[in-house]
């Protein structure tokens, strides 16, 4: 039955490979090439300018602001999301205390799991528009109306605390996903381990920090990488939620927004491609570093 294998293999691979090559691989290769030209898109002529775009990028204040914002999100987003998700997942799986030496979840844990995960299926853009009303600077804003109950004056969320506000939405949307992920990880921890800990008289707090978290380290690392990649994005939220798409005055800008503005809006193809290359390098360095760091930890255990 060996005959006909190659025609079959080629027949099955040709369409996926053609699409993938055309729309993914070719643009990636072109991004690197175009990043070294001064192509403005207006004229068909362009020159090779070497690393000039990258020089320009280093002198661009907006780029430095964007990089700073990514670093901020890279630290805060994973830490806050993972901490909250671990906490909630633990309560859902084991918050009900011990019954006959077995840890049980709190009452209604199924309901909570469904609700917490819900934001994950909503489009980021739509979530952004909804939070535009939550953060509205005047009394019509949900959050401001709530603060008013405590006599707090209206807060200019997007004007003064733009990045924190965006972080809030990112966390709001992400936590549920990791609750489900961690809860699944926790339920796969053998019951005997918990039984032994309960026998030894360990409290739930002790069990959480001494048993659950160490056994869940691998999943937490995966979460860290995923959230880090999310911190490199934030495009949709910044576009719809912030003042002036990344403002005021660059206070909430991120690299994807700069790429979109200079590439699609201003047709500065060369410069936009250089920004894209910078973002990719940034992302890959992060992923490699966190995976490396993860390995070293694993050896120490």
């Amino acid at each position: 039955m060996r005959q006909g294998k190659y025609p079959f293999v080629i027949g099955f691979l040709i369409a996926p490979l053609a699409l993938y090559g055309m729309f993914v691989l070719r643009p990636i290769a072109a991004a690197v090439q175009v990043s070294m030209t001064n192509w403005s898109g207006l004229s068909p002529n362009f020159d090779f300018v070497g690393l000039e775009n990258f020089q320009k990028l280093l002198d661009d204040d907006k780029v430095w602001l964007a990089a700073k914002h990514h670093v901020f999100l890279l630290v805060t987003l994973p830490v806050i999301t993972i901490a909250l998700a671990l906490f909630f997942a633990f309560l859902l799986n084991m918050g009900g205390g011990t019954r006959g030496g077995m840890m049980t979840g709190v009452w209604g844990s199924k309901f909570y799991r469904v609700v917490f995960f819900l934001p994950q299926v909503l489009a980021v853009v739509i979530v952004g528009v909804i939070f535009g009303r939550v953060y509205a600077p005047d009394g019509s804003g949900v959050l401001n109306r709530f603060l008013e109950l405590f006599g707090v004056d209206a807060v200019q969320f997007m004007a003064e605390y733009g990045l924190w506000s965006i972080l809030g939405v990112l966390v709001w949307q992400a936590v549920g996903f990791y609750v489900v992920l961690f809860a699944a990880g926790m339920s796969s921890i053998p019951a005997e381990i918990y039984e032994a800990a309960v026998m030894d008289g360990a409290s739930r707090v002790t069990i959480f920090f001494r048993v659950t978290i160490p056994l869940l380290m691998e999943t937490v690392k995966v979460a860290w990488v995923y959230l880090g990649i999310l911190a490199m994005d934030a495009f949709a939220l910044v576009m719809v939620l912030s003042i002036d798409e990344g403002g005021p005055d660059g206070a909430t800008t991120v690299l994807p927004v700069q790429i979109y503005k200079s590439g699609i809006r201003e047709s500065d193809y060369g410069y936009a491609s250089a920004l894209g290359v910078a973002l990719a390098v940034f992302t890959i360095i992060f992923a490699v570093l966190s995976l490396r760091g993860g390995k070293r930890n694993a050896v120490e255990h």
């Binding site: 293999v9 993938y20 055309m22 729309f23 917490f116 819900l118 299926v121 909503l122 495009f235 979109y260």
Partner: protein, 288 residues
């Protein structure tokens, strides 16, 4: 004995605190969505001056009609439906074909092609955004659904191939061999035997792709430019983003909230029905 009841007491307090923490987060999730839905029935005055926690003074469904026709949410919704159904179908078909061949056939260049697909996972879509725009433009596909569908399929392939190849590898050889002995062709074997066997994996990754493509924003916003004619082609996410950024104080806010409700309510309904499959479909990638 006293010690024991003390312990039980502290456990009780902890239990109550757990409930409070979980309930607070649940309210934080639900409230903005309920607020959006209620605001669709309110008037502009009620939204801006009224109490955001109040119910609407009367249940006015007119905003939904205005959102659907005047704000063109109906058009955007149908556009999204058309694009995502075709692109998800295409992604699954092409992705499964490539994954199957890569997972179960030995041939020269197999490893190379596999890694070529996997490499796509490492690069953010923004890297290729500008050149992609140019490629689509050169092909004359800028502002067309065809162009967007092909791009959606191409960008969904790396993860789909990665996931399904791992899945096809786990399928037993015995069934495939038996089918071959019965004289089934390679193609028949794939469609009649292997695809049905791979159903659980196919369902997970289909859900993953539907949700990912339905919620996509940067690709439509880059590849479907505006203009009087272009706007007719817009998808739901970019349409709603546009309504919201164009909205000022004179804008029709109830219609915006109605538009948002139209966008989120189907997702919420589908999610509540299929929540188990959706949760496992979306987290499948992280577990691998």
């Amino acid at each position: 004995m006293a010690n024991k009841s003390e312990k039980r007491n502290s456990a009780g307090v902890l239990n109550k605190l757990s409930h409070v923490a979980l309930a607070v987060w649940a309210i934080l999730i639900i409230y903005p969505l309920v607020f959006t839905f209620l605001a669709a029935f309110k008037s502009n005055t009620e939204i801006f001056i009224g109490n955001p926690f109040a119910l609407p003074s009367h249940w006015d469904f007119a905003s939904f009609g205005r959102a659907w026709t005047e704000a063109k949410v109906g058009t955007y919704f149908l556009n999204s439906l058309i694009v995502v159904s075709i692109s998800t179908f295409g992604t699954m078909l092409l992705g499964a074909m490539a994954a199957y061949v890569l997972a179960r056939y030995e041939f020269i260049g197999n490893r190379f092609i596999y890694f070529l697909f996997i490499a796509g996972l490492a690069f953010p879509v923004y890297l290729a955004l500008t050149p992609l725009y140019i490629v689509v433009q050169e092909l004359g596909l800028l502002g067309t659904h065809t162009g967007l569908i092909l791009v959606y399929i191409a960008y969904s392939l790396p993860f789909t191939v990665f996931f399904l190849a791992a899945f096809f590898k786990t399928l037993p050889n015995a069934v495939a061999e038996a089918a071959m002995i019965d004289g089934a062709s390679h193609t028949k074997l794939f469609f009649r035997v292997m695809m049905p066997m791979a159903k659980p994996g196919l369902i997970s990754i289909t859900i993953f792709n539907i949700i990912g493509q339905w919620n996509q924003y940067v690709l439509p916003v880059s590849l479907l430019p505006g203009g009087a004619e272009g706007q007719e082609k817009w998808l739901l996410t970019q349409g709603i983003a546009n309504i919201s950024t164009a909205a000022g104080y004179q804008a029709d806010w109830p219609a915006l909230f109605a538009a948002l409700s139209i966008a989120i309510i189907p997702m919420i309904i589908v999610y509540t029905i299929f929540q188990r499959q959706i949760q496992s479909g979306l987290t499948a990638g992280a577990v691998k």
